[in-house]
């Protein structure tokens, strides 16, 4: 695996080299991702954006270790990614909170799988992250008693609490209304600045990607490939309606639509 020459491991949290993923579809093999080479830097907020069918969710599953690559390698630091692990936690599309547990127990779920913590430390950590997402007073509530936005906040706390090295976000805001979404963009940026996490966000919403990402990677579909990478040099916290943000989003949209549809 002498293929890490492109960036030194000290600055890259995740390194993807020539990653290809194929699925067996009804009409033969489908290539979801082809030859993806990408680095996610330590402490970076990377947004991956693209039309549906560009394999961005597949990429996230690969990073999470829920699926395996057909070709190429994915490394976290200098360890190959082969299976799910607590160093890469996922915040999913709809809330994947467990309805049989209350808010606190949901956040504790991942923490209880860390054997090196005492129960008191777990509780302290769970409460810390619930307070961080502004739900410190809801720990006894059941998921169904919360609004969609609150549920995604709990999901965020649940994936942050075990202190993963990388946080993977799979369109976590897509089911929320515009108002709640904007509120969460603010919260996430605040937490990101405060905790300096490495975050990979997958979304089909270009504004969202530009608002949150340090870099925006545009994927093109059929098969999924990296089309272009944009640097977002805007100060945080960013507002969704900021004109310079809108300009950059328009630039990304232009690049997206310039791609010949197949």
């Amino acid at each position: 695996m002498g293929n890490r020459s492109e960036t030194s491991p000290a600055t890259a949290a995740l390194t993807l080299r020539n990653v290809t993923k194929r699925f067996d579809g009804a009409s033969g093999q489908v290539t979801a991702l082809e030859d993806i080479t990408l680095d996610v830097r330590e402490g970076e907020f990377l947004a991956i954006v693209g039309p549906s069918g560009c394999g961005k969710s597949t990429l996230l599953s690969l990073l999470a270790g829920l699926e395996q690559t057909n070709e190429g390698t994915i490394n976290l630091g200098d360890q190959p990614v082969e299976a799910p692990g607590r160093d890469r936690l996922v915040m999913f599309q709809q809330d994947a909170l467990f309805p049989w547990l209350n808010v606190l127990e949901n956040v504790l779920f991942g923490l209880r799988l860390k054997p090196d913590l005492t129960e008191a430390e777990r509780l302290e950590s769970a409460r810390y992250y619930l307070n961080l997402v502004g739900l410190g007073n809801k720990e006894k509530a059941r998921p169904h008693e919360l609004s969609g936005g609150m549920r995604q906040r709990v999901a965020l706390a649940r994936s942050l609490a075990p202190n993963p090295r990388v946080l993977l976000m799979d369109e976590p805001f897509s089911a929320l209304d515009a108002l709640t979404r904007e509120q969460l963009y603010g919260d996430i940026q605040e937490i990101f600045t405060k905790r300096k996490k490495t975050i990979v966000l997958v979304t089909h919403n270009i504004r969202e990607a530009v608002c949150l990402g340090d870099r925006v990677v545009l994927f093109s579909p059929n098969p999924g490939r990296v089309q272009q990478v944009f640097d977002v040099d805007l100060p945080r916290p960013r507002r969704l309606n900021d004109p310079s943000l809108a300009n950059l989003a328009a630039e990304v949209t232009a690049a997206l639509t310039s791609h010949p549809a197949k």
Binding site: A64, G65, L66, P84, G85, R86, R88, L89, V90, F92, Q93, Q94, A96, F98, P99, W100, F109, G110, L113, K114, R142, P143, H144, E145, R158, P162
Partner: protein, 258 residues
């Protein structure tokens, strides 16, 4: 007018009217009291057999058989159903077999049970177990297969797998379906037990079914009707006291129902 009355008024009136009409009709001598006893006779039988202890003894025998048989059926059915869901070839074999056997009315097991176990307690239990087992196997298999994959993915990324995944995620997620499967299993067990008790007099215990059949042989229609009423009430109570509260709690705590 009618909408102003409290809701239980009309059902109560209808019941009084029906029972009263029945009582009057039998007493007027238009039917044989032997074949068609009046409600007061049935009630008299109920009171007498309650005092003599006969009814409670029979109910106890039946309930004991039902509970033990159901417990065995459920205890076997849950792991087997989980295995069906987990392992493809078990689903293709045992799962399909369960589907077939579930359509078989469990009273059909009675002749076989008598040949295998003799006229003994084991024969009744076997029939009850057969009534319960397949419904539970199928319900568990179905509910485990229907656990949202998102829960599994979320749990796996947090480091859950193996037994932890089963006990903390798959089983809790499948619980509502498992419970309704158990309820169905209970109903099947109840029916099959009655059939078995009426069909054969099991020397090791005199249950409600036997009491019902004895009523026929003695031409005591008050006993026949009385036992029928008791069987109905026991079935209702099991649901009211045991299954419904668990189900309601489960649904409420997950927001499936207010």
């Amino acid at each position: 007018m009618a909408s102003k009355l409290p809701r239980p008024v009309i059902p109560t009136l209808v019941a009084i009217l029906l029972l009263g009409g029945w009582e009057w009709y039998v007493r007027s001598g238009r039917v044989s009291e032997v074949l068609f006893p009046a409600p007061s006779h049935v009630l008299q039988w109920f009171w007498d057999s309650l005092l003599s202890g006969e009814l409670l003894a029979a109910t106890w025998v039946t309930m004991r058989r039902l509970i033990i048989g159901f417990a065995i059926g459920a205890a076997l059915g849950v792991p087997l159903g989980a295995l069906c869901a987990r392992v493809r070839w078990v689903r293709d074999t045992l799962g399909v077999l369960a589907l077939g056997l579930q359509t078989l009315p469990s009273v059909c097991w009675v002749p076989l049970a008598l040949l295998w176990f003799g006229i003994r307690e084991e024969a009744v239990l076997f029939v009850v177990v057969m009534g319960t087992l397949w419904a539970v196997v199928l319900a568990v298999q179905e509910s485990v297969l229907n656990v949202p994959p998102l829960y599994l993915r979320a749990a796996q990324t947090m480091g859950s797998n193996g037994w932890h995944l089963w006990s903390r995620v798959i089983f809790p997620a499948a619980l509502p379906g498992v419970l309704s499967g158990m309820k169905q299993g209970w109903a099947f067990a109840w029916r099959s037990l009655m059939a078995a008790e009426i069909f054969v007099v099991i020397v090791t215990g005199f249950g409600l079914g036997s009491l019902l059949n004895a009523g026929r042989e003695l031409l005591r229609m008050d006993q026949v009707m009385g036992v029928m009423a008791v069987v109905m009430i026991v079935g209702l109570l099991a649901d009211l006291i045991f299954f419904s509260p668990i189900e309601t709690w489960l649904r409420r705590s997950r927001g499936l129902e207010r």
